[in-house]
Structures are given as structure tokens and as C-alpha cells.
Symmetry: C2
Subunit: 208 residues, 2 copies
């Protein structure tokens, strides 16, 4: 068996070098590039270079919210798991996800909606400003409704639901809102991508 | 805003229909196809049709282990999060991950190895038979070493580390072992893919 690199930060550094070498020309600024590269690092898929959409001013706004110590709402426990806990802690932030709560499941059954929808309603009631959706198109549709109704305090959205039914449409819909966001266009995305975007935003603010 | 499908099982069913329609011809049997489709469902990436490697007899062996109620070891908490808890419970199985344990972090620092390697050593000491690696090439290398030294009771491996440094090599190395396994060739894979494979194996055994 060949010898192999055993130091995680060395592995990550070398990975980012390879990604930079292979991704070719681009128009990203330095901060955008950190997000794009981390998404490619997470997926081993260079197609994300053309799929990630970063709205102008979104990085600065996300970081303003992170710097004051916020509650980040995620649509799945998997996205929650992927967000770096040390960086969160250093920023005084926390991650929350309501989708597995019995109360949310009960509401979803009673009203014939998805648990993701019931969970996002609860997060909106809590006054969450920073939303992360890696999986659930229905949650993104629901958040848009609540924003249009003036009920939500959402100030920044990571919208990367993945899949074949509703995912692409949910991201098209959310992009119609005039507010800071980062999305992945089309069918691709997912909870690992959502977490990678949040981590990239945090890693620009804290030492690692 | 258009009306949208709100019932999760309807969304999944329709997604699998679309995947079947778009994936074209293939040589998979019915059980293999369930795994391939679930991986594509999780990634929105049809390339996995050509990347997932299912060793002959691997599905039957994995299911034999699952049916007796086993401890599934995962290399990351993200893979652990993605594995369906209801199906696990119905099978009398559980998921474990040691990578965030302080004791494991301490051993890793002392010996200059990754936490993933220290964690897999602990799982091997525990006598784990069912291993799932979605992220850490070093853990897969380490498990191979322990198997060759006759120390491990591993009977089935999901090996889908993702990335640019060591991932593809770790999967090539593990494939040289003559034992039941499911891997993803090349750079792609990840914790969502690893969880999808485990879920597909479980969903063939339990009602949903």
C-alpha cells in the first residue's frame, strides 16, 4: 500500500490546488472563488462552477449576520451535521433544524403538508434571519410565501435543494425575490453543498 | 406560484420514474437498480450509473448482516445523519460514528494520524461488521490494513470517499480485497451517496 497524506489540512490544501488548476478560467472574485472551490471540493463535480449563483452583495450580508452571532436554520439534520461546529462556536452562532421534532410531524400530518414546510413555519415564527435549504423544495416555496406575506425576518438564504421534482423550480421561484442569496441552479445541489457554502462563508471570518 | 407536490412519498415516486425514463439502457438487476436509482436521486447526477460498483453477492451479504440487527459504523456524522432512522429501528440496527469523540481526537493528535483513522481503529476493536465510508480515504486505507492484519471482523463495506487527494486510490485499494462491498469509482461519492446506498439496502427489507 502506498504511503498517504494523513494530515487533514494538508489534504484540503492540496485538494484546493488541484481544483484551481483544473477549473480553468473564470470571472469570480476572491471571495466568490472560495465558495465555488469549496462546493467543488465537496462534490468532486466541476459542473458546479457554472451552477452556483451568488447574488451581488450576498457574501457581505451573510457575513454581517454571521458576525453578530445568529441562529442558522437548516432544512435537514444532514445539512446541520455538515456545518463546522468549531467555526460556528467561534462566531457565537448555532444551527437549528426542526424537521425531526414530533410537534412538527404532528402539524404536518394534520394539515397535509410536508414536515419541511411545517418546520420552516416554526423557524419563521422564531424570527430566523439565516436560512439554509439543501434538500426540501417545499420548504423553499413555503419560505417565499411567508416572505411575500411579510411574516419572515429572513435576510439571507442558501437555496440548494436537489432532485427531480420541484427542486429547480423552487430555486427559480426564490431567485425572483430581491434579497441576498446563494443558490445552485437546476437539479443539482444537496445538503453537502448547502453546508459547504455556509462553511466557506464562515471560514473567511474565523481562523482554522 | 404554481401548485407543488407536498407529499414526500409522491415526490420520491415521481423522481424515481423520471430517473428510470432518463437513465437509458443498463445491465443492472432489480436490486442493483434500486441502489443505482437511489444514488442518482440523491445526487441528481446520472454519471453515477457508470461509477457505482456493486460486487457480486454484496447486496445479499449486506442484507444478511442488516437482518440480524447490526451496528453500522460511519466515518462521518453527516453519513450517520443521512441513514434512515425508522428503517434502522425496524431492523433492530443502529449507527455509530466515533470521529467527534474527544478520546479519538486525543489519540489522533498523539500519534499524528487523522481522527478518521483513530475512529476506525476503535470500531474494529468493537467488532463492527458493517462499515460505511463516505468521506475519509485515510479511514478506508486504515481498515484495509487492519483487515490484512486479521484484526477486523468487517463483512461488508460501503466505500464512497469523495475528493481529489486519496479518494480514488482508497477505493482502488479496498477493491483489491476479496469481500462484499459497494464502492463509487473515481473522485465522486460522498456522505450523501454512502447514506443513500445504506438506505436502499434497508428499504428492500422493511416497509416504508
Amino acid at each position: 500500500m502506498k504511503d498517504y497524506i494523513k494530515i487533514p489540512m494538508d489534504i484540503e490544501k492540496r485538494s484546493f490546488q488541484i481544483i484551481g488548476d483544473e477549473m480553468g478560467t473564470h470571472k469570480f472574485n476572491e471571495e466568490e472563488l472560495k465558495i465555488i472551490k469549496r462546493v467543488i471540493h465537496t462534490t468532486a463535480d466541476f459542473e458546479y462552477k457554472d451552477l452556483v449563483y451568488i447574488r451581488e452583495g450576498a457574501i457581505a450580508e451573510a457575513q454581517n449576520i454571521l458576525k453578530k452571532g445568529t441562529s442558522i436554520y437548516t432544512d435537514t439534520n444532514m445539512a446541520l451535521s455538515g456545518i463546522n461546529k468549531k467555526a460556528l462556536n467561534d462566531l457565537g452562532c448555532r444551527v437549528i433544524c426542526y424537521v425531526s421534532e414530533p410537534e412538527v410531524a404532528k402539524i404536518a400530518v394534520e394539515r397535509g403538508i410536508t414536515r419541511s414546510m411545517a418546520a420552516v413555519e416554526k423557524a419563521v415564527e422564531d424570527g430566523v434571519e439565516f436560512f439554509v435549504f439543501g434538500n426540501a423544495p417545499t420548504a423553499l416555496f413555503k419560505l417565499k410565501e411567508l416572505i411575500l406575506e411579510g411574516k419572515s425576518k429572513a435576510k439571507f438564504i442558501v437555496g440548494t435543494p436537489i432532485g427531480f421534482v420541484g427542486a429547480a423550480e423552487s430555486k427559480e421561484e426564490i431567485e425572483k425575490l430581491d434579497m441576498p442569496m446563494i443558490t445552485v441552479r437546476g437539479r443539482k445541489g444537496g445538503s453537502t453543498v448547502a453546508a459547504a457554502i455556509v462553511n466557506a462563508l464562515m471560514y473567511m471570518l474565523v481562523e482554522r
